[in-house]
C-alpha cells in the first residue's frame, strides 16, 4: 500500500506567480473550449468573442465596481478578517448614495452631490460591516457567518425601500426609486455606462492601498496579523484595533462601489439583488486571484471583467445557457486557482512500503 503524505513547501515568489499566470491562461483555454462544446460554435468564434471582451471598453463598467471592493477585501483578508459581506455593504452603499441624491438638499448641487453621495455611501458601507466586527471582537462570533447573513438583511431592506417608502412616483409601479437628479450623476463616457473619473479614482485607491499595506507601519502590522497575531501583540500594536481597521476599510470601499453603481450605472435605486448582482462575491475571489496585492488587482480585475463580457457575448444565442456557461467557466477557473495555490504551497510525497 503506498502511503501518501502532504508536506508544506516554500516556493520562490516568481515560481508561484508563474504558476498563477499559467492557471489564468489555462482558464482562457477552458473558457474557449467549454463555450464551443456547449453552444456548438466553432473554437475560433469563441476565441474571437473572448478577444473582443478584452478590447471592449465596457470592461471599465465592471472594473469600477469590482476593483474598489476587491482592494478593500484584500486588506481585510490580509488581516485574516473574513469579510464575506461585501455584497451587502455594496447594496447599503447604494442606498446611502440614493438617500443623499434624492432626499437631501445636497442632491441638486453640482460636484457637491456626487462627492457627498460617495462619502455617505462609504460611511454606510463601513457601518454595515461594524456589527460583525464588534461581535467578533467582543464575543468571538465567527465573522464569516455574520457578514454572510448581513448580505441578505441588506437585500431585503433595499427591496423593502424600493417596494415601500422609496418607490418612485414616475416609475409605473416598478420596484425602483425615481431617477436621481442630473446634478448628482457622474458624467459618463458617451455611449457607455462608465465614467473616466471613477476609473481614475479606483486606480488611485488601489495605488494608495498598495502604499498603505506595504509602506506604512499599520499596513505592515495588518499583513502580519494574518500570519502571526501573537507577534503583532508583542510589537505593542493592538490586534483588535487592526482587525477593526481592516474590517471598516473593506466595508467603506464596498460601500463606495455601491455608490458608484447608483451614480454612474443605474441612476436610481433598484432591488437589492440587482444592485449587488453578485459583485460582492465575485470580488472575494478576485482579491484571491490578485494574491491580495492591490497593485496586481488592477490586471486581475481587467481579466475578470473581460470574462464577464464574454458571458454577455455568449448570451446572444440563448441568455439562459450563456449565463449558466459563464458561471461554469468562472467557477472552474476559481477552483483551478485554489488548486494552483495548493500545488505551490504543498507537495505530495508518495512512499511505497
Amino acid at each position: 500500500m503506498p502511503k501518501v503524505a502532504i508536506v508544506k513547501r516554500e516556493l520562490s515568489k516568481t515560481v508561484a506567480t508563474v504558476a498563477k499566470v499559467l492557471v489564468i491562461l489555462l482558464g482562457l483555454l477552458i473558457a474557449i473550449a467549454l463555450t464551443s462544446i456547449i453552444t456548438g460554435a466553432s473554437m475560433e468564434l469563441a476565441g474571437i468573442t473572448l478577444l473582443q471582451g478584452f478590447l471592449n471598453l465596457n470592461v471599465f463598467v465592471y472594473i469600477s465596481t469590482l476593483l474598489p471592493i476587491a482592494v478593500g477585501l484584500s486588506i481585510a483578508f490580509s488581516a485574516s478578517a473574513w469579510n464575506l459581506g461585501a455584497e451587502g455593504q455594496l447594496v447599503i452603499g447604494a442606498v446611502g448614495a440614493t438617500f443623499i441624491a434624492l432626499y437631501t438638499p445636497f442632491g441638486r448641487q453640482e460636484v457637491v452631490a456626487p462627492l457627498m453621495a460617495l462619502l455617505f455611501a462609504s460611511f454606510l458601507g463601513a457601518l454595515w460591516a461594524l456589527p460583525a466586527a464588534l461581535l467578533k471582537m467582543a464575543r468571538g462570533i465567527n465573522e464569516a457567518l455574520t457578514t454572510l447573513l448581513m448580505n441578505f438583511i441588506a437585500y431585503h431592506m433595499t427591496n423593502y425601500l424600493v417596494k415601500g417608502p422609496w418607490r418612485g412616483r414616475a416609475v409605473y409601479g416598478y420596484p425602483t426609486t425615481d431617477m436621481i437628479p442630473v446634478q448628482a450623476r457622474i458624467p459618463t463616457v458617451p455611449g457607455y455606462s462608465f465614467s473616466w473619473y471613477v476609473v481614475v479614482i479606483c486606480v488611485v485607491i488601489a495605488l494608495l492601498m498598495q502604499l498603505f499595506l506595504y509602506r506604512t507601519k499599520v499596513g505592515i502590522a495588518l499583513r502580519a496579523l494574518g500570519s502571526s497575531p501573537r507577534f503583532v501583540e508583542l510589537a505593542g500594536i493592538s490586534s483588535k484595533r487592526l482587525f477593526l481597521i481592516a474590517f471598516l476599510l473593506s466595508g467603506a470601499l464596498a460601500g463606495f462601489a455601491g455608490g458608484v453603481k447608483v451614480l454612474v450605472y443605474h441612476g436610481k435605486l433598484v432591488e437589492g439583488p440587482i444592485v449587488g448582482s453578485g459583485y460582492g462575491f465575485t470580488a472575494i475571489m478576485l482579491s484571491w486571484l490578485g494574491g491580495l496585492n492591490p497593485l496586481l488587482l488592477i490586471p486581475a480585475s481587467y481579466y475578470t471583467a473581460a470574462l464577464y463580457i464574454l458571458s454577455f457575448g455568449l448570451q446572444i444565442g440563448s441568455a439562459a445557457v450563456g449565463d449558466a456557461l459563464a458561471n461554469a467557466i468562472v467557477g472552474s477557473l476559481l477552483a483551478f486557482i485554489l488548486l494552483a495555490d495548493f500545488l505551490t504551497k504543498y507537495r505530495l510525497v508518495i512512499r511505497w512500503s
Binding site: 462570533i141 447573513l149 449558466a324 458561471n327 477552483a335 495548493f342 510525497v349
Partner: protein, 290 residues
C-alpha cells in the same frame, strides 16, 4: 394552534428545509464552514428534476443522493486534502455548481414540469422527525458523533486522541449530504414539481442561517425550522392581517439568527450549547515525509 403546527410540519417545503438544516449541522459540527451547500442543493434539485423524468421516482432519489455526495466529496477534497480556505472554496465551487445545475437542467430536461409525487402528510412529517432524531443520536450518542464534534471543536487535540480528522470530516459530509440530497429531492419532486434556472438558489444559505440560529443542535433546529417555515408559508397572510411587509418577514431569519447567537454567546448558555469553535479553521497536520 395544533392544526397550524401540523400543517407546517407536513409542508414539503418545511420538510426539505429541515433536512438541509440537519445536513448542514452535521457538516459544520465537524469544523467545516459549509458554504458549498447552496450550490450542491441547486445541483441536487436540478438532478432530481431531470433524473426523475428519465428513470422514475425511486431511481431519481438514488441519483440525487449520489450526485450530492459526489460534489460534496469534491468540496471535502479541496478542504481536507488541499487545505484551501473553507470560505473561498465554498464560494468558488458555488459559482461552478450554479452553472452546472443550469446546464444540466436546461440541456437534459424533457419538459419544464414534472408530475408531483404525492406523499401522505404523515409520511413527510415522519421523515423529518426521524431525520432529527437520527442526527441527534448520531451526533450525541455514538462515538462517530463524538469524533465529529471533537473535530469541530479542536481538530489538533482530536488528532492527538487518535481521531483521523480528514476521515471524520469525510464521514460527516457523507451523512450530512445524504440528508441534504433527500431534502433536495423532496423539494424538486414533492414540493415544486417544476424547474426554472437556478431553482433553489439561496435555500442553502437559509439552511446555514437556521443551523446557526439553532446553535448547531439538531433537536433545537426542528422547532426553529418550523417557526421560520411558518413565517415563510404565511408571508402574505401576515401582510394582510397585520400589515407586515413581506420583505421584512424575509429578513427575520437572518436578524434572528445573529441575535440568537449573540445572546447565547453572551450568557452562560454557551456552555450548554457549545458551538463548533474551530469552524472554518484550516487544519494542517504536519506529516513526516519519506
Amino acid at each position: 394552534m395544533l392544526v397550524e403546527v401540523l400543517k407546517i410540519a407536513t409542508d414539503p417545503l418545511v420538510v426539505a428545509l429541515v433536512l438541509w438544516v440537519l445536513g448542514n449541522i452535521v457538516v459544520e459540527r465537524s469544523g467545516v464552514i459549509n458554504l458549498a451547500l447552496d450550490g450542491i442543493i441547486t445541483i441536487g434539485i436540478a438532478v432530481a428534476f431531470v433524473s426523475t423524468q428519465y428513470f422514475g421516482y425511486f431511481i431519481g432519489l438514488l441519483i440525487t443522493i449520489v450526485t450530492s455526495l459526489a460534489f460534496a466529496t469534491m468540496f471535502m477534497i479541496f478542504i481536507n486534502i488541499m487545505h484551501t480556505y473553507h470560505v473561498l472554496t465554498g464560494l468558488a465551487l458555488n459559482i461552478l455548481f450554479y452553472g452546472l445545475s443550469a446546464l444540466i437542467g436546461l440541456r437534459l430536461q424533457k419538459s419544464p414540469v414534472l408530475a408531483t409525487l404525492t406523499l401522505s402528510p404523515v409520511l413527510l412529517a415522519l421523515v423529518s422527525i426521524l431525520a432529527v432524531l437520527f442526527t441527534w443520536f448520531i451526533l450525541y450518542k455514538t462515538s462517530i458523533g463524538i469524533a465529529i464534534r471533537a473535530c469541530g471543536f479542536n481538530p489538533r487535540a482530536s488528532e492527538h486522541l487518535g481521531i483521523k480528522v480528514w476521515r471524520t470530516r469525510f464521514l460527516a459530509s457523507t451523512i450530512g449530504y445524504t440528508l441534504a440530497g433527500i431534502g433536495s429531492y423532496i423539494y424538486a419532486t414533492v414540493y415544486r414539481g417544476g424547474w426554472v434556472q437556478y431553482t433553489g438558489r439561496g435555500y442553502g444559505f437559509l439552511a446555514i442561517t437556521l443551523a446557526m440560529a439553532s446553535t448547531w443542535h439538531p433537536l433545537l433546529s426542528y422547532p426553529i425550522s418550523l417557526v421560520f417555515g411558518y413565517l415563510y408559508t404565511s408571508i402574505y397572510a401576515l401582510q394582510l392581517l397585520h400589515g407586515i411587509h413581506p420583505e421584512i418577514v424575509n429578513a427575520i431569519p437572518y436578524v434572528a439568527s445573529i441575535a440568537i447567537v449573540t445572546i447565547v454567546y453572551s450568557t452562560p448558555l454557551h456552555k450548554k450549547l457549545a458551538a463548533p469553535r474551530a469552524l472554518g479553521e484550516v487544519y494542517f497536520k504536519e506529516e513526516r515525509a519519506a
